[in-house]
Amino acid sequence: MRLWPYVRPVRLRLGFSAVVAVVASCMSLLIPLVLKWMVDGPVTDHDPGGVWLGGGLVLLLGLLEAGLFGVRRWLVARPLAGVEASMRAALYRHLQRLPVDFHDRWASGQLLSRATMDLQILRMFLAFPLVFLVVNAATVLIGFGILFVQSWLLGLVLLVPVVPLMILCSYFEARYALAARRAQDQAGDLATVIEESVLGIRIVKAFGRHRSQARAFRDQAQGLWHTEMRKARLLSDIWAVIMTLPELAIGAALVVGVLQVSDDKLSAGTLVAFLSTALALRWPVESIGFLLAMSNEAGTAADRYFEVMDTPQADTDGRRTDPRDDGLRMEGVRFRYPDAPAGTPDLLTGVDLHIRTGETMALVGATGCGKTTLTALLPRLHDVTGGRITLDGADIGELPVDRVRELVAVAFEEATLFSATVRENVAMGAGPGGAGEEEVRRALAIAQCDFVQRLPQGLDTQVGEQGLSLSGGQRQRLALARAVVGSPRFLVLDDPLSALDVHTEALVEAALREVLRHTTALVVAHRPSTVLLADRVALMSGGRVTAVGTHAELLRDSAEYRYLMSGDAGRDGDAGGDGGERDPHGASRDDAHDDPRDDLDRDPHGDPHGDPREHPRGGAHDDRRHEAAGLERSEAR
């Protein structure tokens, strides 16, 4: 078992807890024996003194049983919570260091369900099924041993239903687990519909799409209803078996026992002891079915956990090289996403670009030409698949990743704020060490974040998912402040002013120009105003840089650039690349005839297994509740 490294520290306690549990179970098996002794001895002999002794023994055993089970729980409670926590911390640590490709492939909900649900299952497995498979097997063996010693005939009568009971239980449990998983998936999908209808409420309202949303919701809800009913039917069958079979066996044992007592082959005390032992054994036998099912599930959980843990971390090592003042250089940079379908061309097909030290280069290109991808290559969020990028002469593929990210600061197109104060969100731009008050204020001033002064707690206002929600423009300005706070050597800005209003944009530009004067920077630009921040402009087209020059030069020489900057010139131009399929005329009307085959009147809920993000929310652990209930019961023994 690969869990061993995590379990190792608690192995002694775990083993000891199993021993304690076996002993405690034996206590509950001994009580009926004392009872037998009392009935056959002092009670039949009318000896009140012996009764006291027997009663005392029952009391002692009862106290021991309760006490030992308490000891067992106490032994494992904290250590196993510790195991769960250390596995979770290891997962988190590992995930943070996995490449961005991995995170592109894996929805965060999928990762979260591994970090919470699967680890919880594993903890429960260590706490109960692992221990109780042993304990219950031992109890059943000892119990039946006692039964057989007392009366092999009655023992045999009771043994008959045990095997079918266990088989039926594990059969039903397996099917139930399937249905439960399905219900969980459906609850997740339902949650997705709900989440989207809430997050997209403006669109739902703007287009009056209540009805189609409601239909999508109803379909999902009904699917869930059917699965839940199926679960209930399975459960009802299990219970019918569990209720009936042992009752019948005990009834048969009673009849046989009565006959034997009447023939004086058996004492009355034995019969009483027998029946109450049988009762005590009922749970261990029933439980084995779902203990096995739960172990299976824990196996799956462990697989899911290690599936992620086994993904190799990106290579982050490298050596430092002596910098020479060379600026940023890209030579024949090629890139394709690892999950791009085979046969499609590379996204970047050989980018050559040199940004001199202290120079600001604007990057201009049609939507989807790979500008944003290129910006992700610089801090090595993705590694190039061909060619190389050098910072001051050092290949970033050979530098330690930390060093690369120390040199390069980025403001992303989508400004992500973390749940922290404004100050922390800005200061984190300077690296793990943070930034001083002075630097934060300077960065905020550059990004024109004067709105921070008006926030309830100023710099200490909580923002992000759990804090105050800021407007798009405000978030973008904070992200900009974060990028410039550490005075990085290389600065990458992805359309940094898109959400700002005209007035603010002008102010930010002015302040930013100061910063850019002595920083080597790459600025993705969609508009002339942003381009003007740069000394030179690189035009991207077809996955490569097709032209470099000043704004004026490119306006003069490149039809494509003119088109991108003013939207009207040079569709017949020389630069190719973007092409002219943008003409709204020809495209629109003639195609708009009805095609009855193409039924698009569907609701936008998509694939039933589409969004697994919701699983943790959609009822993570509840379907295990009935097992858990059983286990809680088992724990008490």
């Binding site: 009580i31 009872l35 009670v43 009318h46 009663g55 009391l59 009862g62 089970f69 919570a81 926590a85 911390a89 943070q96 961005v100 995170h103 989207e196 809430v198 997050l199 309202k205 703007a206 009056g208 189609s212 409601a214 919701f217 009913m229 209930a232 009802s236 009834g251 009483v272 109450s276 049609a366 939507t367 989807g368 992700a376 990210r405 120390e406 992303f412 197109e413 984190m428 731009g429 998912e465 798009g472 898109s498 959400a499 969609h526 508009r527 939207g567 495209a587 195609d591 193409d598 698009l600 009147d601 809920h605 998509g606 589409g610 929310r617 959609g618 509840d622 209930a629 809680e632 019961r633």
Partner: protein, 636 residues
């Protein structure tokens, strides 16, 4: 076993004593009735919305009402089933005390009766259990689907104002995790809870019947048990609440890191994150351990009480049997019954927990459902007249419109505004000038505090939703994509559109090229691999949606912010061609967008301070002229 029956009342009790007073105040649907800004604490800051007293009871009743017959059937089934289950030990007692002597005398009647009785009880308990589970599941699942549907529909009908203040996270929590905790109770806990109570009642009665003295002794044990349960409940509530807070913090940190993995990596947050996460994780570990130990303490306590009672009963019972005052079979039955009685006590604590959390959830849900939609559907909708003047656009008029938030704080002082059909109006102004509010009033996301918004002579309040949405469509800055394909996302604009129409809309807006380049073209799932869609591309999809919807009045609320110049041109071109003759309201940062407008409104502090054609305003010396000059300068 009164202890258990008492618990439900307990859990429902904790409610603010001033509940009704607050509720009356907030139930008023009219915005703007609130006091001065920031006066009272906003009830929306809390999870539990003020609701009329007993709202959750009324909710429960209305949910159960349609299933009354099934619920009764289930109760009867459970009653009979428990009776069958509890008959077993009684038969044992009868067998020992009567059948054995009879058999000894050669009579097998009693034995046969015992055998048949046991057979009947065993089969009956199994069959009835099966029937009960099925009927109960039917009721609880029907209730759940009803409840889910109500929350969903209600959330959809509540105004945007509500959504903005209640936040999406909490609303989603109501519809998912709160419903989930009720589901847990209904499907797993409730049956157990009722079963335990019922079996306790039955067993107590049977014990009384068998031997009242021993039964009284058993009753005495209920006192410490009740006490143990109460103590456990109180302590575990604290422990579990701590744990769920701790786990929530862990989840938030985890999700945030994974969703923001790019900035995390780019800013080298891995180490600080490890530390922060380690701290939260450790806190959760402690809380988790505390909760488990709390449970352990309770189980040990209740088991101790049970075992001591059993020992006591055995002692006294055996003593009396020995003295000849009691039959042996009765003692055997007693021991068997006591085991059954105390067995489920440990679980009881757990199910009471799930009961409590379900009660809390129900309260929150009832609070949500008690919110009246601030933008209600008209009772008697009026139809829109046929478009006049041969153009598809419609005339818009704001008549004495004033808007203030419910908590106070006037956003738009009273104003009048008329936009003739087919006019393109640009609204400019700084953040917070009231541009978006104006747009939202026109889209009827809000209703004005006073005055009215009129579309071709019909007040928006009087329009049916379908008519309103055919008339007015708004495209916002956040272009949200629903899961599903790109084509499905565009077709939200008009669900009955054909693929050709969808593609035509995409082409008209210049989105066709990038969509065709996606791995599966129009059938690319936007949430799946290959679905890397940039902010600008999302905005184009949102536009295609609006184009397909083909409204009479189009509102663009900063809807071009992420577009590049060609994209913006395509949008403007589409406004001139496909959307020509529509009335359009454009809110934009960028003055290039404004150039195509017939008319410009400059807003400041909620007032329209300048109004005229772009040419007039540029020629003047007002604010717009200044802005425009700055913009021209930036173009070089």
């Amino acid at each position: 076993m009164t202890s258990v029956a008492d618990q439900p009342e307990q859990a429902l009790e904790p409610r603010p004593p001033c509940g009704t007073a607050v509720a009356d105040d907030r139930a008023a649907p009219v915005p703007g009735t609130g006091a001065a800004p920031g006066a009272a604490p906003d009830p929306f800051d809390q999870d539990v919305l003020p609701a009329p007293r007993n709202a959750q009871i009324a909710l429960l009743r209305s949910l159960l009402a349609p299933h009354r017959r099934r619920a009764w059937t289930a109760s009867v089934l459970l009653l009979v089933q428990q009776a069958a289950v509890q008959a077993g030990p009684l038969l044992v007692a009868y067998a020992i005390d009567n059948a054995i002597p009879q058999v000894r005398q050669g009579q097998h009647g009693a034995l046969i009766a015992v055998a048949l009785g046991y057979l009947a009880c065993g089969v009956a308990s199994g069959v009835l259990q099966r029937a009960f589970i099925r009927v109960a599941a039917r009721v609880s699942q029907d209730v759940l689907i009803d409840l889910r549907g109500r929350i969903f529909r209600h959330a959809q009908s509540l105004s945007l104002d509500f959504h903005e203040r209640y936040t999406s996270g909490r609303l989603i929590a109501r519809a998912t995790s709160d419903v989930e905790s009720i589901r847990e109770l209904l499907t797993d806990g409730l049956e157990e809870l009722v079963g335990v109570v019922l079996s306790a009642v039955y067993i107590t009665a049977l014990l009384m019947f068998l031997d009242w003295k021993l039964a009284l002794a058993t009753l005495v044990s209920y006192v410490p048990l009740y006490w143990a349960i109460r103590v456990f409940q109180k302590r575990s509530m604290v422990a579990y609440r701590k744990r769920s807070t701790a786990v929530a913090a862990v989840i938030v940190k985890f999700t945030e890191t994974m969703n923001g993995i790019r900035p995390v990596k780019a800013f080298r947050r891995e180490e600080p994150n490890d530390d922060a996460f380690g701290e939260l994780n450790h806190r959760h570990e402690r809380a988790n351990g505390d909760a488990i130990l709390e449970m352990a303490r309770y189980v040990v306590g209740s088991r101790l009480i049970a075992n001591v009672t059993i020992a006591g009963i055995v002692l006294w019972g055996a003593y009396r049997v020995a003295e000849g005052g009691m039959a042996l079979g009765v003692l055997a039955a007693f021991v068997l019954y006591l085991r059954r009685l105390y067995d489920p006590i440990d679980r009881l604590g757990m199910f009471l927990n799930s009961y409590q959390s379900a009660a809390a959830s129900l309260e929150k849900i009832a609070g949500l459902l008690a919110q009246a939609p601030a933008v209600p559907e008209p009772a008697e909708p009026r139809p829109l007249p046929e478009p006049a003047g041969g153009i598809p656009g419609r005339e818009v008029a704001f008549e004495g419109v004033r808007f203030a938030y419910r908590t106070g704080g006037e956003v738009l002082p009273s104003f009048d505004l008329r936009m003739p059909a087919g006019q393109t109006v640009a609204v400019v102004g700084a953040t917070g000038a009231g541009k978006s509010t104006l747009a939202k009033l026109l889209a009827r996301f809000y209703d004005p505090t006073s005055g009215r918004v009129v579309l071709d002579g019909v007040e928006l309040r009087d329009l049916a939703t379908a008519d309103l949405r055919r008339g007015v469509v708004m495209v916002t800055q956040e272009a949200f994509l629903f899961s599903g394909t790109v084509a499905e996302n565009i077709a939200i604009g008009r669900p009955d559109a054909t693929r050709e129409e969808v593609e035509a809309a995409a082409k008209a807006i210049g989105a066709h090229d990038f969509i065709a380049a996606l791995p599966d073209g129009y059938d690319t799932d936007v949430r799946k691999r290959g679905g890397r869609i940039s902010a600008g591309q999302r905005q184009l999809v949102a536009f295609a949606r609006a184009l397909l919807a083909d409204p009479a009045v189009l509102i663009l609320d900063e809807a071009t912010s992420s577009l590049d110049v060609p994209g913006e041109r395509a949008v403007q071109h589409a406004m001139h061609t496909v959307l020509t003759g529509r009335t359009a309201v454009i809110i934009a940062h960028r003055l290039s967008t404004v150039e195509i407008a017939d008319r410009v409104l400059v807003m400041e502090g909620g007032r329209i301070v300048e109004d005229g054609t772009p040419g007039e305003l540029i020629a003047g010396d007002g604010r717009f002229a200044g802005l425009h000059q700055a913009w021209r300068d930036s173009l070089v």
